[in-house]
């Protein structure tokens, strides 16, 4: 697989922070892979994703995309990126259709294509029956699915997911993960963070483990487990990051 994102010596230290939030971080994300970013609270996961999505500018280092050709900056590829934040980033007073119409229009998706895409997303994410109801009446699982639907309305080539299944029931979690699997099979590269290590274990092709803004491990899960003589991601995680609180 070819490289789709190249991260080179990325560093940043926020105002008021005692240490670097990201410290000389370098790695590559391969085209079509499901890439998991893990670490305890404050490890720098959200900062990394924010930089990759163009929300934060690093103090030093670079991020290079290779979607159309090579050497693209993030602002040149925004149309090909999907972002699903941890928060419910939509208009809860509107319906799923109204939200998807709006975000779809911002991506300049033609009207007919937009309608088809919205119908498809509502169907596969089980939101057809509530398509025209106000979101603020929905359950947590339904809101998560709407949040995901908006993030992929543009059929992105790279999808960033920040805790996409937090606070949802098992059924919604299964629906979301199943859909993401399908999306990945169609060629979408997925960069994913989660605290559900069991879920990540089953989902991710490669895993980046971070702590204190630094990379402490990067490889396929099986390779990491064999290398560190561990049986699952959770024990591996605790071994490398320690068991003390990270509030």
């Amino acid at each position: 697989m070819s490289t789709i994102i190249e991260i080179n010596r990325l560093s940043i230290q926020f105002k008021g922070s005692e240490q670097k939030n990201l410290d000389e971080l370098s790695f590559e994300v391969l085209k079509g892979e499901k890439f998991g970013v893990f670490g305890p609270n404050g490890a720098g996961k959200t900062t990394l994703i924010s930089i990759l999505c163009g929300l934060v500018v690093p103090d030093s280092g670079s991020v290079t995309y290779s979607i159309y050709q090579t050497q693209e900056k993030v602002n040149q590829v925004l149309g090909e990126i999907g972002y699903v934040p941890q928060e419910y980033a939509f208009y809860p007073e509107l319906s799923p259709v109204q939200n998807l119409e709006y975000f779809g229009a911002l991506y300049k998706i033609p009207k007919i294509e937009r309608k088809e895409r919205i119908a498809e997303l509502l169907k596969v994410l089980g939101l057809q029956s509530v398509a025209n109801k106000k979101i603020n009446t929905f359950s947590g699982g339904m809101k998560r699915r709407v949040n995901l639907a908006i993030g992929i309305i543009n059929n992105p080539k790279i999808l960033f997911l920040d805790e996409p299944t937090v606070g949802v029931d098992v059924q919604s979690k299964m629906a979301i993960m199943h859909y993401l699997e399908g999306l990945n099979k169609q060629g979408t590269t997925i960069i994913y963070t989660s605290h559900h290590l069991k879920e990540a274990e089953e989902f991710c092709d490669r895993i980046l483990l971070m702590d204190h803004g630094k990379m402490i491990a990067l490889d396929r899960l099986q390779s990491l487990l064999i290398e560190h003589n561990e049986v699952d991601l959770e024990s591996f995680f605790i071994k490398l990051t320690g068991s003390e609180y990270r509030d």
Binding site: L55, G79, Y83, A89, F90, Y91, P92, E93, F103, A105
Partner: protein
């Protein structure tokens, strides 16, 4: 274009779904404009137009009490209920029980006092003219005053103006008696009718003209003040809806998501402002139409529109833009929705109070008038006063337009700097 239309549609939908915001932006000011205009109008009529209900207890043993009652009756300003033999306590109870604001007691020796005063003045005049050599000394009497009882709710300025009216009638009565005495001293039984008529008919009248630059005589009344005043208040109260929306979208991640979309964030923000500017204009039109068509149906003065349509448009747009800019500033700088709603609403109430929305600025102490200059609502109201009450010349609007322009520019600059610091721009 597609993005702009989609954003405008989305913003319009968000506004339409914000029921609390709609209540605060439309229903509250409409209710307020009705209540305050009715209250102001009835107060205005009470002192200037319609009859004030007064209970008169006449204890006078002569004719002057009746003459004063006749003068008050004929003035058309008072609706009199004349009674006799009521104690002071009964009169006060009557004010509390009946829907009456004033009562007058004419004292027992009212006629005697007036006669003595008139005779004294007449004697002095005749002595001055050399008709009389000496003045007959009037016997001393204990002066009894005319007593005015009032309901404590009656404002001081109304009481003062009613007292002044009664004084002027007393003056007329005294003058008549002096004239009568003069003629009597000269051997006439009565003042000739021709002179009486001349005295009462050819008085110098007071003609009231409100200053106006258009040459037309504007109509200062409760409607002309309250319709623009409460429209401005309504426009600025959008801070609760717009400011709150901005904080909500910032905190729930919608703004962040918008930044990951290849679309200008300024498009989103300016669309929001445009929709709320339309909301502000619709508030102005709604309250204006109420003033023009509903007020006359409930016996309130009709809103008279100024002739300078261009100036109305400019002042309305600048006022709306000032309200929108202030709301966006509050939304961008507030850390929580509660902060935006609380600070936004309270600041508008304070701006309204010092800006002359509730009580005209000229009625405030000088230092408060100076403080009021910082209120954008004051300048908006000033602009509408120039239009609705002073004829609406561009020259008089200059200071209003400059202040509002600077206020809008200042707010927009603050918003830009804050959002730039947060990398939205």
């Amino acid at each position: 274009m597609n993005k702009l239309l989609a954003t405008l549609k989305k913003e319009a939908l968000v506004v339409l779904h914000d029921k609390v915001g709609l209540l605060l932006m439309y229903v509250m000011p409409i209710v307020l404009v009705f209540i305050i205009t009715l209250v102001n109008d009835s107060s205005f009529r009470m002192v200037s137009g319609n009859e004030i209900s007064i209970l008169v207890v006449n204890d006078d043993q002569g004719d002057c009490g009746d003459s004063l009652i006749a003068l008050l009756k004929n003035s058309g300003s008072f609706k009199l209920t004349v009674a006799t033999k009521m104690s002071s306590a009964e009169m006060q109870q009557s004010l509390l029980d009946d829907n009456r604001l004033l009562a007058i007691r004419i004292p027992r020796n009212f006629s005697l006092q007036l006669n003595r005063k008139a005779s004294g003045v007449t004697d002095l005049m005749l002595k001055e003219f050399g008709v009389k050599d000496s003045i007959v000394e009037q016997p001393k009497t204990v002066a009894q005053s005319l007593v005015l009882y009032y309901d404590p709710v009656l404002q001081e300025n109304y009481r003062f103006s009613i007292s002044n009216s009664i004084y002027s009638y007393l003056g007329a009565l005294e003058n008549g008696m002096i004239m009568q005495n003069l003629y009597a001293e000269m051997g006439y039984e009565n003042v000739p009718e021709e002179i009486r008529t001349k005295l009462s008919s050819e008085r110098v009248m007071i003609s009231e003209v409100a200053a106006s630059s258009s040459g037309k005589s504007p109509i200062p009344n409760a409607t002309q003040h309250n319709v623009p005043a409460w429209s401005i208040f309504a426009m600025f109260f959008m801070v609760v809806s717009l400011g709150g929306n901005i904080v909500k979208e910032r905190l729930n991640g919608t703004f962040v998501r918008l930044r990951t979309i290849p679309s200008s964030f300024s498009l989103v923000l300016y669309s929001k402002m445009l929709v709320y500017l339309l909301v502000a204009m619709s508030q102005l039109v709604t309250i204006g139409l109420i003033g023009m068509f509903i007020f006359p149906l409930i016996d309130l003065p009709k809103l008279e529109l100024p002739s300078n349509v261009g100036a109305i448009l400019v002042v309305a747009l600048l006022s709306g833009m000032a309200a929108v800019s202030y709301a966006v500033t509050i939304g961008v700088f507030s850390k929580t929705q509660e902060q935006a709603n609380g600070f936004g609403a309270i600041s508008i109430i304070i701006f309204a109070a010092i800006g002359g929305i509730w009580v005209p600025s000229f009625a405030m102490p000088a230092y408060l008038q100076s403080i009021g200059q910082v209120s954008p609502l004051h300048w908006c109201l000033n602009g509408f006063y120039v239009l609705f009450l002073k004829g609406g010349a561009w020259k008089e609007l200059q200071s209003t337009l400059i202040f509002l322009g600077l206020f809008i520019a200042g707010c927009q600059l603050l918003v830009y700097l804050k959002l730039k610091a947060q990398r939205y721009w």
